[in-house]
């Protein structure tokens, strides 16, 4: 590979990576980053998943330093309504979360009908919540992020990425392995692939 091409390729690679996901690590969010993520729009308002998708919003509970999302009410409702779970973990200060939410907002007309079999669960976190502080309660168990991911055989146990999406059946069985971030399904066609469980 000609050396003169390397810097451009490298920057392009970094942009691809950063563009794909906002990793919840201070080092990636740090000021020294060669290609910072897009700035939060001025005066932005965190609305999470757009209301058109009728999301079930779950706010974290717990003492400082421990952010727990109780998935039990969502599971109970999914069972009651016989719907699959589309669990979205977003952060209020995460530009990539806003980007995905804006994508959903912009394409709601086309996408909302396809979300009907899904109960959208909007877990509202923050980039400052590290993976060691993030807990999920299912049944009587409260598991820290990595343990929760391991319990469902999810490869993403290694690194917490905002935003993240999980797909479950009403018994909370994962329906499909999912990528870190949402960058690979921010077109209508690709969002439909996800909803149709195309692997």
């Amino acid at each position: 590979m000609p050396l003169r091409q390397r810097p451009d390729r490298r920057r392009a690679g970094i942009r691809v990576c950063v563009g794909a996901c906002a990793v919840a690590l201070g080092l990636l969010a740090g000021p020294g980053m060669a290609a910072p993520p897009p700035a939060m729009p001025a005066g932005h308002k965190n609305e999470g998943i757009p209301p058109a998708y009728r999301p079930m919003v779950v706010e974290p509970t717990g003492a400082p330093g421990r952010s727990e999302f109780d998935l039990n009410p969502a599971l109970a409702r999914a069972k009651r309504e016989n719907r699959r779970l589309y669990v979205y973990l977003g952060a209020d200060d995460c530009p990539y979360c806003r980007r995905y939410e804006n994508f959903l907002r912009k394409n709601a007309g086309e996408l909302v009908p396809h979300f009907k079999p899904w109960l959208v669960v909007d877990l509202r976190s923050s980039l400052s919540t590290l993976q060691s502080q993030l807990f999920f309660r299912v049944g009587q168990q409260s598991l820290v992020y990595a343990a929760f991911q391991r319990s469902i055989n999810d490869e993403r146990a290694r690194m917490l990425v905002y935003p993240s999406v999980w797909l479950f059946d009403p018994q909370m069985k994962p329906l499909m392995p999912m990528p870190a971030g949402t960058g690979t399904f921010e077109t209508v066609e690709e969002q439909l692939e996800i909803l149709n469980l195309v692997q």
């Binding site: 590979m1 000609p2 091409q5 390397r6 390729r9 490298r10 690679g13 970094i14 691809v16 990576c17 950063v18 563009g19 794909a20 996901c21 990793v23 690590l25 080092l27 990636l28 740090g30 020294g32 980053m33 060669a34 999810d154 490869e155 993403r156 290694r158 690194m159 392995p177 999912m178 990528p179 870190a180 960058g183 690979t184 399904f185 077109t187 209508v188 066609e189 690709e190 692939e193 195309v198 692997q199």
Partner: protein, 283 residues
């Protein structure tokens, strides 16, 4: 281990190939058009790409490649959890016999900075030419495996994958003192006279040269495992010529046939010409 002339030749050929690809003119091929949503239109699993056109010509010339025979199958998720660690499985629908066997497997990632991820030179000692590993995928594009049989036939299987950032993902190492440690693990008991599955892992950063050190804000120089030679009881099982498109801590699951008790051995050389080895006594 010194590089033998054929292996050195392969390295030089690889470098020339990469240089050739780097010099690809930045033109939009008529086969790559923007589709609705900004996706390229050549996203069918069996589609070609400008990169593949160049690779195909350099690696195989005008030899016919059968992409429909089903002799080889590539199993890879459409979207992997991380671009830096995409699981790949190669399945050969052909028994490995001295009369006819898979002689060479080429694993390609069309849009990676160095697309030829691995070339495996196999012998009938593999027993069953199935391999599993993990690769880096830098952009949406095709991953391909080309199987070259001992009779000269070429067979291909390809998949379009929607993953990116694999070559610039932040490194994840935590034990630099273990670099070069070469480990074998048998998932099940060995089967004398039959293909036996084994996992081989080399602890190594396999740095691509495109990863940023977030402390120094400098790029980490490329540093990766270049070759692995696997033998059993002194007989070659397979040789692998590798690149940084293989993920950190390169791992290969493969088969070998233990005809009698013996030593399974791997000789590893990295891009700094450091040599490592690992062994496992069978029986």
């Amino acid at each position: 281990m010194k590089l033998t002339p054929p292996m050195a030749l392969r390295f030089h050929r690889r470098r020339r190939l990469v240089i050739g690809l780097g010099a690809l003119p930045l033109v939009v091929s008529p086969t790559v058009r923007a589709a609705v949503g900004g996706l390229p239109s050549n996203t069918g699993h069996n589609d070609g790409s400008p990169e593949w056109d160049v690779l195909r010509s350099k690696l195989f010339g005008t030899r016919p490649i059968d992409a429909t025979s089903g002799r080889v199958q590539l199993i890879i998720p459409l979207r992997a959890a991380y671009g830096a660690s995409v699981p790949v499985k190669i399945v050969s629908n052909l028994a490995q016999t001295p009369e006819l066997y898979v002689k060479r497997l080429h694993l390609l990632v069309d849009k990676n900075p160095s697309p030829l991820a691995a070339t495996l030179e196999l012998t009938p000692e593999v027993g069953q030419a199935d391999f599993e590993t993990r690769i880096r995928v830098d952009e949406y594009g095709h991953v391909r495996v080309i199987s070259e049989l001992s009779n000269g036939e070429l067979h291909m299987s390809s998949r379009f994958v929607k993953t990116s950032g694999g070559c610039s993902a932040p490194p994840n190492r935590d034990s630099p003192e273990l670099i070069g440690k070469t480990l074998f693990k048998l998932p099940g008991p060995p089967k004398i006279g039959q293909p036996t599955t084994v996992d081989l892992t080399v602890i190594h950063p396999n740095d691509t040269g495109f990863e940023l050190n977030n402390v120094t804000v400098m790029y980490i120089p490329s540093y990766f495992v270049r070759t692995i030679e696997v033998s059993y009881a002194g007989r070659k099982v397979f040789d692998a010529d590798l690149d940084f498109s293989i993920s950190e801590n390169p791992t290969w699951r493969f088969n070998f046939v233990p005809h009698a008790p013996g030593e399974l051995r791997a000789e590893v050389v990295d891009s700094k010409e450091k040599h490592y080895s690992g062994a496992l006594q069978i029986g």
